[in-house]
């Protein structure tokens, strides 16, 4: 099974290609891939409860796609409520994903 690590470090609503990350994740899952979607820096703005991108990511979260948000980035932005389906995570989990061999890394 192909494994993809997608890291979103930008606000996904700031640039027009941001939402394509969600489409990419969905298409990869459809192809049978395992996707680890990690939000960091301004990317965690899309984890905020009830934000538009959070709703989309929440819908995607489930078998085949894990959606995580970096705890330090959330704290720095005062984000303490994540949308359901998006888990609070840490740099340790990102390092684990890299070390476990998510062979394809896309850093946005």
């Amino acid at each position: 099974m192909a494994r993809y690590l997608i890291v979103a470090s930008r606000d996904m609503t700031e640039y027009s290609n941001g939402p394509s990350l969600s489409d990419l994740s969905e298409n990869l899952r459809t192809e049978g891939a395992d996707v680890f979607f990690f939000l960091i820096e301004n990317g965690v703005l899309s984890a905020r409860k009830d934000s538009r991108e959070a709703i989309r990511l929440s819908e995607l979260s489930g078998p085949g796609i894990r959606v995580m948000a970096d705890d330090v980035s959330c704290r720095a932005r005062g984000i303490d409520r994540l949308h359901p389906g998006i888990a609070l995570s840490s740099m340790d989990e990102l390092a684990d994903a890299i070390s476990e061999g998510f062979g394809n890394i896309y850093w946005y």
Partner: protein, 149 residues
């Protein structure tokens, strides 16, 4: 290269070496901080980390960086001194003496253009695109941090 090892009869891929490419300089964006946080965690996992810094990222390892005093009104909140990123890079490079190895290479052309070629901190290698190629070719994983404006 990426190796497969049997753990309880299950083959899992083990990453031994990661290359990170960064072009973001000090005080521009959070990317340098994120790279340092990630590098520290990878080194803790006995993973060798090779960082290739180019464009403004060559200023991250300028040894002339100094702490400066914070405004009095902010000292209770953020402390007396404003730290600089080079300090943390230096700590990581020194940690590599006792843990997994960290190599930090700055692009010679980018450093010359910015006048910092002869101001790189100890432990940093001023290199060429050939070093980048070697990093990429030997790495199990390559992470390219995008520069966006």
């Amino acid at each position: 290269m990426l190796q497969e090892e049997a753990e309880d009869g299950i083959l899992t891929k083990k990453v031994r070496k990661v290359a990170i490419v960064i072009s973001t300089g000090s005080y521009m964006r959070e990317a340098p901080t994120t790279v340092l946080r990630l590098a520290e965690k990878l080194l803790e996992r006995d993973i060798e980390v090779n960082i290739w810094a180019f464009e403004e990222a060559v200023t991250l390892t300028n040894r002339e960086q100094v702490e400066h005093s914070e405004p009095p009104s902010l000292r209770k909140v953020i402390g007396d001194k404003h730290a600089y990123v080079g300090k943390f890079i230096d700590q990581l490079l020194r940690a590599g003496l006792h843990t997994s190895k960290l190599d930090w290479v700055t692009c010679i052309l980018c450093a010359q253009e910015r006048g910092v070629e002869h101001h790189q901190m100890n432990g940093v290698i001023v290199g060429t695109l050939g070093d980048l190629w070697k990093f990429v070719r030997s790495a199990d994983q390559v992470i390219a941090i995008p520069a966006y404006r």
